[in-house]
């Protein structure tokens, strides 16, 4: 049953994702890509669970720890890089809206 529930939210999330972004001005394509790339670092949650588990397997700990490090690079780097890019746009007067792509 739990599996069905997970598949259920997977399908709903897929539809939401398809609808979520549309008509993004072209100067925001790169920050959007970079920002969503940071979100895909959510795999850090799985990595933490693997690295923190005490199942007596060295291999699991090694794999988990490496995964934590890699996912952390993805998350921290991704959010900061995106913020830096968006910070470049900040100086412009906010009354102006970006043109349509």
């Amino acid at each position: 049953m739990e599996l069905m529930l997970l598949l259920f939210i997977f399908v709903l999330a897929a539809f939401l994702g398809f609808e979520l972004i549309a008509k993004v001005p072209s100067q925001l394509h790169t920050p959007l890509m970079s920002g969503s790339n940071a979100i895909s670092g959510i795999t850090i949650v799985g990595a933490l669970l693997a690295a923190g588990a005490d199942d007596g397997s060295t291999l699991t700990t090694v794999l988990g720890t490496t995964a934590v490090a890699l996912a952390t690079i993805n998350v921290i780097g991704g959010y900061l890089v995106t913020d830096r890019m968006l910070g470049m746009f900040k100086k412009k007067d906010s009354g102006k809206k970006g043109g349509d792509a």
Partner: protein, 469 residues
Amino acid sequence: MNTETLINFAYIVASILFIFGLKMLGRQSTARRGNMLSSGGMLLAVVVTLIDQQVVTFQWILVGLGIGGAIGLACARLIKMTSMPEMVALLNGFGGLASLLVGWAEYAKPGDTLSTFTGTVIVLAVFIGGITFTGSLYAFGKLSGKLSGKPVLFGGQQIVNGALVLGLAAAGVLFVINGGAGAMGPNAFYALLAIAFILGITLVMPIGGGDMPVVISMLNSLSGLAACAAGFVILNNVLIVAGCLVGTSGVILTIIMCKAMNRSLANVLFSGFGSDATTAAGSSEGQIQGELKPISAEDTFAVLEAAREVVVVPGYGMAVSQAQHVVRELAEMLENNGAEVRFAIHPVAGRMPGHMNVLLAEANVPYEQLVEMDSVNPQMPMMDVAIVIGANDVVNPAAARDKSSPIYGMPIINAHEARTVICLKRGKGAGFSGIENQLFLLENTRMLYGDAKASLQAVASEFKAMAEA
């Protein structure tokens, strides 16, 4: 409220923050706050995961977080704005590899044979994560110039890729039916791992450097799906929701980018675009004959000094030579001289969409001066001078005229319609996509050779000399 309920509740909040974050990233006025919301969601997800009862030892977590945090911080702080695109590719590759390792760690757990479902999702996490990892690294190599930007094609490429896909499927099936155990299980797993890594490279190999933005967007979508598959491996809902959101919204973004180039995704991925650089020279009617006519910085100054309407068309060359600040300086001088200056931004100029906007914004170019391709093209015949700074394919008239050109049909900035075109270029080589540019051969085109920054500084100093005189 027990711990598990609390954790799941926090995961719901994190998912909501991701959804709002993504939505807000699509609009100029809210983008930065959107990114912060989504990072808040990530922090929340990480913190509550630490109180999960599965997590009993912390020292390795701290090691991983410490190393990853330091590297991530250094990457984000030290990287130059111009190298942003390859940075995104690299980060994306790490994310994909992390998802692969999460799948692997679940397999490596001591225990019984895997159920068919768990086996299947481990296969998915490993193969999607593996392709994302090596594909992103290869894209990083191409973008940073460590590997040639040209498409690499070899005989029987499609057959090799087909064979790899079949091998991948066979290894996956063997792994699942053996439950990952016995003599076959581990071997099937390592075969799967190896094939996924190779496939990531062979899939990106034939794609030209000019198409890397689309490839990165697609790999970004894949890394989301890898996280999603990892979520099914460990039955974790926040991984499934966030990974799936990135995966599907990434598909939409990829399609938007393809549209900007007037190409289909299939065409980008499989055509080996730009590989046949010698477009049957002379044989097609759209070809322009002519020679490259160099111009000096002094003469450029003379042309610009007399101009009233100037349009600047920046490309990757501007990013490479860090010329954006000098460009802004020169634009100000031209404005003081009574000219009107515009910056025409092609949607795919540079290595990523918005690449030029970011750089020019960094150099404090006023937002009003940035115009998009569709609004500048009708005005092009009125322009006295078009300054093309290290742009190539996005101003190649062959895209509009020459049916045999591989970029035929791609919308371009019609710089060739300006009265005089000045092209700043490092040397006589072809563009990133490997295609000769007919713009450079036109009657009204002059070539200003040399590093873009140095060339512009030379022109700017002429202006300064005039002001002082």
